[in-house]
Amino acid sequence: MAGDNETMTKLDMSEVRRIARLARLSLDDADVERLAGDMAEVLDHFEEIDQAVAASARGIRERGLAKRTQPDDSGSDALLRPPSAMAPDWREGFFVVPSLEALREDA
């Protein structure tokens, strides 16, 4: 692709790891390395967009879809199977997950 060489934004590995933490994705070092390159390529192509294109749209009001609300009366879509049928861990009517405290104490 044209323009690859000088504008190439190589993403910092620590930045990629920070994003992975935000996205709650476990990645190995090879993943991080590969993603740093892939992400940078997409972002570089975005940077190459002619500034005038975005600028030309400033102030355009979006084509509005009509507002839709529903009345405050009951009638949710029914569940054909109860939540217990899909839950990985279900006890006495509750979804159960590993303790939150563990999350807080995590370094």
């Binding site: 935000l22 949710s76 861990d89 006890r91 006495e92 159960v96 590993p98």
Partner: protein, 484 residues
């Protein structure tokens, strides 16, 4: 050095809707866990939010009650973070373009108005509930509350003391529960939740100090206690030359202190962006107008008017304005009458009627206990001297107990009318003086304070029905005679 305290309050209030914010599951409190749920509030694949018009309407009312400007166009956004009770991995809320901004809550104290500016009011959905102590090493999640509509109300840092913060919360609750009628504002059930931030600065300083945020405040008195603790803690640190940390602290009620949230602060980055599943929320000027008209007077306006129009004290006016229904009842009784009538009406309302309302929790406005006509007649009989304060209370007691609705008939049947007949009164005076020869002798010897003793005995003998002015005259006459 003297210090100034600066407090801002952020409140989450559950709106009193039948259903949730973005689906039509019941928003009722207390159902068995995970039973008020559907594809939308479980965050199932493919489910989509549709806004509840009822919640929007209530939020508009709330905003108007807080004197806010309601914007014609506001925007829902996603606030992204992972948490077990957040089913979609994001909360639908409002951020850059909230429903309403720039309000004012007017409080009144010692004849002065205090204005607290409201920065913003926005609509959002509640999260579910995580229970950490149910299973060892695990967290149990109930999603019944997930998606229940909330308004978040944020003040400017305008409050200057913990007591004022508490007064603000009381006023806010009064506005939202009774005037806008948008929430039951029940702190125990979590339908009103308050967080506070506090900083201190040397008096006269205009820059704000470093603030801490205090959470886990489950009653108004705890808000005040936590803020008192936090104020003293910060002043102590500053006076020792230490720096206050910008942090979130939890209030521990049993220890009566605030503590920093344990553990490492997370890397919070909520990645707000416009909610693509919803179009912007549009509220027409006409809708706002209609809602404003339906809202009527706000508490401080009502208080001022009652004071001006009926010459009531601030105290009476404030109590009568606690709920619009009470003020309306008061005016149905005392409207168009003189100030004495108004004052007497207020006394009945604040006395026997308020006590009865307290005895019947959850029940009834004044109107359900006693018709305004009935109370008006009672006030008349009190003011024209037919009833003494004592017999009037008795009559009110009988009316509230449902013994009858015709005041005159009740007074007659129970013989409550004051006796003004001189012969009858003189007979009672004689009876009392004869029954207390010793006291009479001491009085004759100059012990004048015994006058009160004789009056009390007289009223008892008369069963509270003696016209106090006439009987006083007679007693003065007879005692003077005894002295001579």
């Amino acid at each position: 050095m003297s210090w100034e305290t600066v407090i801002g309050i952020e409140v989450h209030v559950q709106l009193r809707t039948a259903t949730k914010m973005f689906c039509r599951c019941s928003s009722e409190y207390g159902a068995p866990p995970n039973t008020n749920v559907c594809p939308v509030c479980l965050g199932l694949p493919g489910a989509l939010p549709v806004p509840n018009q009822g919640a929007v309407d209530l939020a508009i009312r709330a905003a108007l009650a807080l004197g806010c400007e309601v914007h014609e166009r506001s925007e829902f956004v996603r606030k992204n973070y992972f948490y077990p009770d957040l089913p979609k991995g994001y909360q639908i809320t409002q951020f850059a373009h909230p429903l309403a901004t720039e309000g004012t809550v007017v409080m009144r104290e010692d004849g002065e108005e205090r204005r607290v500016r409201i920065r913003r009011l926005h609509l959002e959905e509640d999260a579910g509930k995580s229970m950490h102590d149910r299973y060892a090493g695990s967290t149990a999640v109930d999603l019944n509350r997930a998606g229940v509509p909330l308004v978040e109300i944020v003040t400017e840092p305008d409050l200057r003391s913990p007591a004022e913060a508490r007064a603000y919360l009381s006023r806010l609750k009064q506005l939202l529960e009774h005037f806008a009628a948008v929430s039951d504002c029940n702190m125990e059930e979590g339908s009103l939740r308050a967080d506070a931030n506090l900083s201190v600065r040397p008096t006269g300083e205009t820059q704000l100090g470093t603030k801490s945020e205090v959470k886990n405040l489950n009653s108004f008195s705890n808000v005040e206690k936590a803020l008192v603790f936090e104020r003293e803690r910060q002043i102590g640190m500053l006076e020792r030359g230490e720096e206050v940390a910008s942090e979130t602290r939890l209030f521990d009620l049993s220890a009566g202190e605030t503590r920093p949230l344990r553990g490492k602060e997370e890397d919070f980055d909520y990645r707000y962006f416009p909610e693509p599943d919803l179009v912007p929320l549009e509220v027409s000027a006409a809708t706002v107008d209609t809602a404003r008209k339906a809202l009527g007077e706000l508490p401080h306006e009502l208080e001022t008017r009652l004071m001006d129009q009926y010459q009531l004290s601030e105290y009476d006016a404030t109590l009568l304005s606690a709920r619009p229904s009470r003020a309306a009842y008061f005016e149905a009784v005392a409207g168009g009458q003189d100030t004495a009538f108004a004052k007497t009406t207020a006394n009945f309302l604040m006395g026997g009627i308020a006590a009865e309302l307290n005895r019947r929790p959850g029940a009834a406005a004044e109107q359900d206990l006693l018709s305004p006509d009935c109370l008006a007649r009672l006030v008349e009989l009190r003011l024209d001297g037919t009833l003494s304060s004592d017999t009037a209370s008795q009559a009110l007691g009988l009316l509230l107990a449902g013994e009858g609705q015709d005041v005159d008939e009740l007074v007659q049947m129970h013989g409550l009318a004051q006796v003004g007949d001189v012969d009858q009164l003189a007979g009672w005076v004689d009876e009392v003086l004869e029954a207390h020869p010793d006291e009479l002798a001491r009085y004759a010897d100059g012990e004048e304070k015994l006058f009160g003793f004789f009056m009390g005995a007289l009223m008892r003998t008369a069963g509270g029905k003696a016209d106090p002015n006439k009987v006083r005259e007679l007693l003065v006459e007879r005692l003077a005679a005894a002295r001579d």
